[in-house]
């Protein structure tokens, strides 16, 4: 047993804070959520020496302690709550050598909280190239801190940082700014009202609209003469605070920091000239998207097919090697396909995050925001929403995970909510079979009707996503006013360690967190399809054999009839019949009802389920299609006609019928509220549009 200290990693975005975190913790890190909100919580452990361990939290990037987003409030909430389990013994403020002035603003605020603070100056490998000289000793003296020069790229400074952490008790906690100087009379009255409190902490409690520990909040509310300043005045005082801090920082840097402005390369200017050019910028972005698209569609299919086949083979192996019975069935038909259904997503998730983390690491993502922001902002989306929306055409799961990179909570949430409208690849087999069934294979102006319909369905998904985004923009309230201010970071080579850790972390969290929900639902669906109440299900073989006793029927065909009869009398079959009155107005019979419910496992299951229920043994698409074409209602009308076909396509276009998407939305939004809104909202839209379409067309 040794000592363990709490370390908080704090810093502006784009300072390489996460690189420092990765360097310290490696694989010993855990990514979760702060309770009740969608902000990512990264923590990890590492050893300082033989007897001391450190527990480190990588706090969200922020420019100051004045929160303008939910991510930033997390930082203040922790730093003001001494009772929090994670309250730091020592803060490590990471800064970037090139932006030291702006980065020090945050440092002075942290220091004024009287938390022992270490100043890490990152990217120190750039100093020579940029012509920067720094008097570290004088800087330490002026700020009353320990300065550690680091370079994550060259793996430098880690040992020095660890040494500084071990000796954190020796750090001075003397404030840098005399807060009272912001407005002496006001702070004097504060001091009289709360004699035992730190003035700067009080000041933050007053100005920040975040959830503080109950005690402080309550006391603030209780004291009527406390909030003697109007909001406009408070804002002005905050500005004064910032100006005063900059004065101190400028004075210090004047003595310690010199930069030769003639040095330094113009890589940024050169690359920007192309990457955000009003024509070439979009061409490059289009090519980047095309590559991502190719990779998640095309490259992923190889490992995905492999996973698919391996699990099918494993199922077969279990079936033929374990004694037949309920347990074997559960393993072979429930558990193994259930696990396969989770692992099948890994290639797409891994590839997508490989690209996203490279785009983020290089600094290109900010250029995408610059190019796309105006077009997407009017829909309540962010420039970064492009990546999730485009990835959504392959699969909504990795797409929803990709929204993590959108900083603004409201824009992130809207993107998550509308992404499932985008036509994913699982809808394609359903569309293809329905189109070939009900849309004539003829041409108009040289264009094929079937092709046009498919294109129409893709467009419909995009349009629906944008319309819903616009509606959601009005209804989702955000506490934070969003002014569009985005940093355009320097271009950098991506760090391999950061990229691989992102890919690993994203994949792992999907498998573990969303995976358990997907697994549970898929087992449930399997049980519902494999069991049924009463005689009909248990005696399926005898009953069907009785029916065919006088007829000539091949043993194989008899088995198909038995399977169909079983499915009809299983729980899922019964459920299909129960919902028939509700779906009949859309033009569906109970058999389609069963396929709709089964589609919840994955939309493409639709075709296979219909094949079973129609007792078609073959999985050949032509066979299933001709069987579907001949399916009739009791009165002789065709089940699959133009009206019901269109109605079904609309249903698949709009309905939320994918449990894996619900599971990942649950994970990403950290509550069941949003996935349930999606489930009922989207399915409601689907029901109404299918109803209108069928009633008008029939």
């Amino acid at each position: 047993m040794g000592l363990s200290i709490n370390v908080a990693l704090i810093g502006n975005p784009n300072t390489g804070k996460t690189s420092v975190f990765n360097l310290l913790t490696g694989l010993k890190q855990k990514v979760g959520n702060y309770p009740g909100i969608t902000v990512e919580k990264k923590e990890g452990d590492f050893r300082l020496d033989r007897t001391t361990k450190a527990h480190i939290i990588d706090l969200p990037g922020t420019y100051s302690l004045n929160a303008s987003s939910m991510d930033e409030s997390v930082v203040i909430e922790l730093l003001l709550n001494k009772n929090d389990r994670d309250y730091p013994d020592v803060a490590v403020v990471v800064t970037d050598i090139e932006n030291l002035k702006r980065n020090l603003l945050l440092f002075t605020q942290i220091k004024d909280l009287e938390i022992p603070s270490i100043l890490v100056i990152n990217m120190s490998d750039q100093m020579q190239r940029k012509g920067i000289q720094l008097d570290t000793a004088a800087l330490e003296e002026a700020l009353g801190t320990k300065v550690v020069l680091m370079s994550c790229r060259e793996n430098k400074g880690v040992e020095e940082l660890k040494k500084a952490l071990i000796n954190y008790r020796k750090l001075s906690t003397k404030p840098i700014l005399d807060v009272a100087s912001i407005d002496p009379p006001y702070f004097e009255s504060l001091k009289t009202t709360f004699p035992n409190q730190s003035l700067f902490k009080l000041w933050l409690v007053i100005t920040q609209d975040v959830n503080f520990a109950n005690l402080d909040r309550q006391r603030v509310a209780d004291t009527s003469n406390f909030r003697t300043q109007s909001n406009t005045n408070l804002k002005r005082l905050q500005q004064t605070e910032t100006i005063k801090r900059y004065q101190i920082i400028n004075d210090i840097l004047k003595k310690t920091y010199t930069i030769d402005r003639t040095r330094g390369t113009d890589l940024r200017a050169k690359l920007d000239r192309v990457l955000i050019h009003k024509v070439w910028g979009y061409v490059v972005f289009f090519l980047v998207l095309l590559t991502i698209f190719q990779v998640i569609y095309d490259w992923s299919s190889v490992p995905m097919d492999f996973i698919d086949e391996s699990f099918a083979r494993l199922s077969e192996f279990v079936k033929s090697n374990l004694p037949p019975g309920m347990f074997t069935k559960l393993i072979a038909e429930g558990v193994i396909p259930g696990l396969g259904g989770i692992l099948i997503f890994i290639p797409q998730i891994a590839f997508l995050f490989l690209f996203i983390s490279i785009l983020e690491e290089t600094g290109y993502m900010s250029r995408v925001v610059f190019l796309m922001d105006r077009s997407l902002r009017r829909y309540g989306l962010s420039g970064k929403s492009v990546i999730p929306l485009i990835s959504g055409t392959a699969c909504a799961i990795p797409a929803v995970m990709a929204t993590r990179n959108i900083e603004n909570w409201k824009e992130r949430l809207i993107t998550i909510l509308v992404t499932p409208f985008i036509t994913c690849s699982a809808r394609l087999p359903v569309y293809l079979i329905l189109i070939s069934l009900v849309i004539p294979n003829a041409r108009i102006f040289g264009m094929n009707y079937q092709g046009l319909t498919l294109m129409g369905l893709y467009l419909l998904g995009v349009v629906m996503a944008l319309i819903s985004a616009m509606i959601l923009k009005r209804f989702i309230k955000s506490n934070y006013k969003s002014y569009f201010v985005v940093e355009m970071p320097n271009y950098k080579w991506p760090l391999l360690k950061n990229v691989t850790l992102t890919v690993f972390e994203k994949t792992k969290s999907f498998v573990i967190e969303a995976g358990k929900i997907i697994f549970a639902i898929s087992i449930l669906l399997w049980v519902m399809a494999s069991f049924g109440p009463g005689e009909n299900f248990d005696q399926a073989e005898t009953i069907v054999a009785q029916q065919y006793i006088d007829k000539q029927i091949a043993a194989e065909d008899l088995q198909y009839e038995i399977d169909a009869f079983r499915l009809e009398n299983s729980y899922i079959g019964i459920l299909g019949k129960v919902i028939e009155p509700a779906i009949a107005p859309l033009g569906y019979d109970w058999k389609i009802g069963i396929a709709l419910i089964a589609s919840f496992a994955a939309r493409e299951v639709f075709v296979g389920t219909l094949a079973t229920i129609y007792s078609v043994g073959s999985t050949e698409e032509e066979t299933i299609k001709s069987r579907m074409a001949s399916e009739q209602w009791a009165d002789g009308r065709k089940v699959f006609n133009f009206a019901s076909g269109i109605s079904l396509m609309l249903f698949y276009a709009f309905a939320m019928q994918c449990m894996s998407t619900l599971a990942i939305v649950r994970k990403e939004t950290n509550s069941w509220r949003w996935p349930l809104i999606q489930l009922f909202g989207m399915t409601g839209i689907a029901y109404i549009s299918s109803l209108i379409a069928f009633q008008l067309l029939q």
Binding site: Y63, S64, N66, S68, E98, N99, K101, R102, L105, T232, K235, R236, Q238, Q239, T242, I243, Y246, R268, D272, I276, K278, S366, V369, F370, L371, D373, R374, K481, Y483, F484, V485, V486, E487, M488, P489, N490
Partner: protein
């Protein structure tokens, strides 16, 4: 004197004043203070957002805010 969104790209200017009462604090923190240097690097298509160099920071800001920053070419 002119507003930032009307500044010629590539020219260094000095921030003189704001013509709204409360400049978003975020921008102040980024160094958007009277006396500091500012340069419009490039406008996005449809002139929004604007890519600027403010003090030592490179930022993209909406035209809506840029309109309120009064500058004078240095």
């Amino acid at each position: 004197m002119q507003n930032l969104d009307e500044l010629e790209p590539g020219i260094t200017a000095v921030i003189k004043a704001f013509d709204i009462e409360n400049m978003p604090l975020k921008l102040i923190e980024m160094g958007c203070l009277p006396g500091n240097q500012i340069m419009l690097i490039q406008k996005a298509p449809f002139s929004d957002p604007l890519y600027i160099k403010l003090d030592q920071s490179h930022l993209a800001i909406s035209r809506e805010i840029a309109k309120h920053i009064i500058v004078e070419p240095a």
